[in-house]
Symmetry: C2
Subunit: 338 residues, 2 copies
């Protein structure tokens, strides 16, 4: 098949690779209908993560089941499925506790920007729709495989409550989905930190009541003012850098929790401040499968349209341009079609 | 008055200092009936914290109200009172949210190992008993001013639930009180990490079902075995060192929370592990006043006897020996009488 590969920082190709195949009886092969580029794909692209030269890249996709292993019972060939970026059996001790991202048989989508993807633990991972969804729903369904579930996880981890004030640090696709999640959970005020006009617009459409364009201490001071010096009831950290984390803790009120979902890079947690202010930290890699049935229902009912985060659609063959566009912030999130 | 002072690392004296006096109309002066030495007093004693040479030391005491400021309404001269180590008005936005340790008018007891102590925000801070308590209750009432409330806070922050497994890292007075708290909250299994026989005995009396004497990776491996490889449902970190924190995160199951109450010294939080395993951190300086009415009731009813953590009683004039005894681990916690 043809798939997107990474050879070195900045070196993205779309080329022939071996077809993925059933390796365990619990596997399924999905023919990709749509894949996309994640903000976290930019870490290796920018040289911040190690690269296995020539390996496929991409952990988000939706598609149609092409083949299943002998032990797969619930998913059938021909089903349209949402593929969580992390695969889980949904029956182990950690899955039963709602932490599917720590499944004892954890797997990951590794060729979501290719023509086919192998899904391990297919029965536990995949969620099928009733028949083929309308084409216009594809972007929102694709968003459920990672960014929407991840933003939702940030809001859950931060303890967003009806009527409370939530601050979202980060205006990437996950941050924007965090705004949508906090809004869906009934936060009385959702403050989005965003410098980019196009993203501010999506944030407002997703329910942000306030947008703060300033960063660092300047932005923190504005949020202090907006919250009468108290701080936010819940903070969603959706970036993963030290600066974002510092801002998250600076704007969190005593006794609150920072929900973090950005893969941490160079983060040093302010443990003394956490201690003095009783500000906790919760979150991590999102247990996508836990939220998927609920989020799917919200998409199908039209309650949420997280697909709005996609502002560029390209053929997979032009994946390299998609990476450039995201790297240069010309695009928030890029959808790739095979 | 005479009070315990610190002049340099290892240099503890009991000497004449100026009497504390009413400085604000919300202040009260308490004649100390019993004070004690806290594990955190050992930080400056050992030279790990800055010292203001000649300053009084000691933040835990119970006693009788000697004098009150003009605005004090609820506390009366002659009342026997439990003095939370941190003073709070109990009415500000943070107090109302249950984070009295972040009160906008936060104060601290500073001469709890002396004959008199000034208490700011007296109405919001002090909790009086009905009449003079029996002498045998004094140690347990004294424990409520810090260590018992702090251990309780660790258990609350860690989210101890009925039937769950709790691990307590640290067998100082706070750790032992954490065992008692987890047990009171109905944890099905309380695993105390303790190397010292006398402390193991108290831990068992406080409800520990298991005692693990091993530390570091060895101790972590034993707890992994005790929890069938799953990890603990809740972990109480009651030390404040990097090693204790590492162990706490190593034994916490995915999706659980480490409740931390040890003042952090040299702690580097394992943010990548926290992310990958979805293990959160919550806690900090205990909002003693929040828990005090409930804990006082438990002491008076005989449900808890946290005073058992005191294993050495000395006259205040021998405070220096008390510090030595705790520094050399000859005593778990030292009660000082004026």
């Amino acid at each position: 098949m043809r798939a997107t590969t990474i050879h070195a920082p900045g070196d993205i190709r779309f080329e022939e690779v071996p077809d993925p195949r059933i390796e365990a009886p619990t596997d399924a092969i999905v023919k990709v209908v749509a894949g996309c580029i994640c903000g976290s794909d930019l870490w290796p692209y920018r040289g911040h993560n190690d690269i296995d030269a020539g390996s496929t890249i991409g952990h988000e996709c939706v598609g149609v089941v092409e083949e299943v292993g002998a032990d797969v019972k619930d998913v059938r060939v021909g089903d349209f499925v949402v593929v969580p970026f992390c695969h889980s059996d949904n029956t182990c001790v950690h899955c039963r506790a709602g932490v599917q991202s720590a499944c004892t048989g954890l797997g990951f989508t590794t060729s979501g920007q290719g023509e086919y993807a192998r899904v391990t633990q297919a029965d536990g991972s995949l969620v099928a729709t009733d028949g083929m969804p309308h084409e216009k729903l594809i972007p929102s369904l694709l968003a459920l495989t990672d960014v929407m579930a991840t933003g939702w996880h940030a809001a859950v981890a931060a303890g967003v409550r009806p009527g409370g004030t939530a601050v979202v640090v980060g205006d990437g696709a996950v941050g924007l989905c965090g705004v949508l999640a906090a809004s869906q959970m009934g936060a009385g005020r959702v403050i989005a930190m965003s410098r980019h006009e196009s993203r501010q617009e999506i944030a407002r459409a997703f329910g942000a009541s306030d947008v703060v364009a300033e960063r660092g201490e300047e932005g923190e001071a504005i949020i202090a003012e907006l919250t009468q010096g108290v701080g936010a009831d819940a903070v969603l950290e959706c970036v993963g850098t030290d600066g974002a984390m510092k801002t998250a803790f600076a704007v969190a009120r005593p006794g609150s929790t920072v929900g973090f979902v950005g893969v941490p890079h160079g983060v040093e947690l302010p443990v003394r401040r956490m201690f003095q202010k009783n500000v906790g930290l919760a979150g991590g890699m999102a247990p996508v499968r836990r939220y998927l049935p609920d989020l799917l229902e919200r998409v199908l009912s039209g309650a949420i349209d997280p697909g709005r985060v996609f502002d560029l659609t390209l053929p997979m063959a032009e994946a390299a341009e998609g990476y450039r566009a995201m790297d240069e912030r010309r695009a928030t999130k890029v959808l790739l079609q095979p």
